[in-house]
Symmetry: C2
Subunit: 372 residues, 2 copies
Amino acid sequence: MNFFCKNRIFVAMKNKTYCVIMAGGIGSRFWPISRASRPKQFLDILDTGKTFLRATYERFLPIVPTENFLVVTNAVYRDLVLEQIPELLPEQVLCEPVGRNTAPCAAYAAYRINAADAGAKMIVTPADHLILDEEDFCGIITKGLDYIADSDKMMTIGIKPSSPNTGYGYIQLEDDNVCPGGITRVKTFTEKPDLALAEAFVASGEFLWNSGIFIWSVETFMRALAEHLPEMYGLFNAVTPYYGSPQESELIRQIYSECRSVSVDIGIMEKARNVYVCCGDFGWSDIGTWGSLYDHSPKDAAGNVAPPDALLSNTEGCIVKVPQGRTVVVEGLNDYMVVDSGDVLMICPRSREQDIKRFVEELKYRGQEAVV
Amino acid sequence: MNFFCKNRIFVAMKNKTYCVIMAGGIGSRFWPISRASRPKQFLDILDTGKTFLRATYERFLPIVPTENFLVVTNAVYRDLVLEQIPELLPEQVLCEPVGRNTAPCAAYAAYRINAADAGAKMIVTPADHLILDEEDFCGIITKGLDYIADSDKMMTIGIKPSSPNTGYGYIQLEDDNVCPGGITRVKTFTEKPDLALAEAFVASGEFLWNSGIFIWSVETFMRALAEHLPEMYGLFNAVTPYYGSPQESELIRQIYSECRSVSVDIGIMEKARNVYVCCGDFGWSDIGTWGSLYDHSPKDAAGNVAPPDALLSNTEGCIVKVPQGRTVVVEGLNDYMVVDSGDVLMICPRSREQDIKRFVEELKYRGQEAVV
């Protein structure tokens, strides 16, 4: 497999587990901090000292050796990935010519791994989630890996819901008595529900949040791809002789243009019968919105999320995000977002965060591409 | 007089009118745009393309030749003055070692002028006011100069009040029928009144706003100084042999430390009997507060004062001031000031502008001297 140094082969042979980090997202929900040129996964929005991508990489390092990571992203983010995880060889960054949701992303990675290491297992994970208890997390992942070993089971990680969040997909369980660490068969996957439905889901005890983390053997995944997304399977399978070769990139470009845009959840997991879920309770959030960032950030006595030296008076429930070293004075503001990205200042009620899309569209329309 | 080039002497002899610009103020009311290191007079807060100081200089140029200007300021602002009015010779900037209000400032300038040009007339003006109709303004000043010529009258410029503004001092007239351009004797000077009093003043027709612009012959002013502020007169008079000499600066340093802090209005004009006022109506404001800047700035349909490319929605009555090129998005904010000075962001209801002093004090207390 040409993306391994020779001296890494021994380690790779010892550990047949691969981690595929999906880092191609381009959402604008954290605008103006996130930009088309630097989306959320490449940012340290939580001020942890690490970007989401870097944190994801480090989180899996106790389980997966560096040479077994693959990061799938858009070609334009290739350098950002290598900058944030300089331990990776350039060949470990798989570049998608265009985003086609998660199914082609997982398929591309599976074929690349298979070309180098038959019989491997793979973990597929988003690049931009928050996980609080990383030790517990590793325990759950290891449990999942053990469960699918030498089997044709596909595993997903579900999260014990702490609220009827309408921003997440839900997984319905066959066994509603499952505890954190427990594993059960999946009954259904559901898309983001409305609030009434989400409340019913949580009350029933039958549902977990869908974390979007999957574990399976490459072989099992390829079989599922062939069965449930046969056209996509055909496209990626046809490239088999060329994975890891100089032709790969051009061939990938061609098949992506024909590839359907579909998620792993909808394209494969919803249809498959051999899907299991491991229940996690390690403090998880996809930090998908400013509201969720507010919820997961430490607050002052007045419920503000702000730099410690911000001068806030008669101000409650605000989230204030400014570049380091910038002095902020806020008087008499309640429940707003004040976000300063350096070149953009946005002031918006927290309850209106869905309007951010509109701001970005408006600025694009005005030709202010530089700030979107 | 050593601050004139030789080739300027002829012009100076032809025009015995001097303009003294008082540019020593250090107010914090326009914080965070204004700073101790660059107060309002050195800023272009109105976005006219000129700082207040520069605009003041240019406003008097039709009446006073460049070599007859003196700018009195604190020593720390000397370079700022010469940068903004490069036409001046360094000797035309009089440096006060410490601020002692306007009376010592006018006295210093009067002695400096007298040392070089006996029999001169002088105009004393603040450096940081807005005047809309500059032609009309020049007409009024010329009228005042003519009126005091060869007389011992002291002239002040009063402004026909357009509102019962409580931020201004008022001048009571002996003749309440005076029209713009008319001149009458002054009955009293009053300090900033409360609203009820200000309303009574305006309704009576007997009062004008005090612009703080004075016109007199140097000789008349010195006589008034001797009569009403004899100690101050003694201090400045003792330096007479040294104005324009290398000793001046050190001697000025010594007398300022003994000088009482008092305004021209209170120290001299209120007590003098020979005070006249010329009534102006040329669109004047001291632009003393953010509120006054808001009042005097062009507004959009929703009453916002903001850069034309700011993206404001559901936002009314706001003043948004940010560095050029910065993108601003504001959603759902009414009657706030949003001021971004580059290193400081302040968000504050327009009705709470008196709190700015408190913010500045708090930041000083925290040791953030760099931003105050």
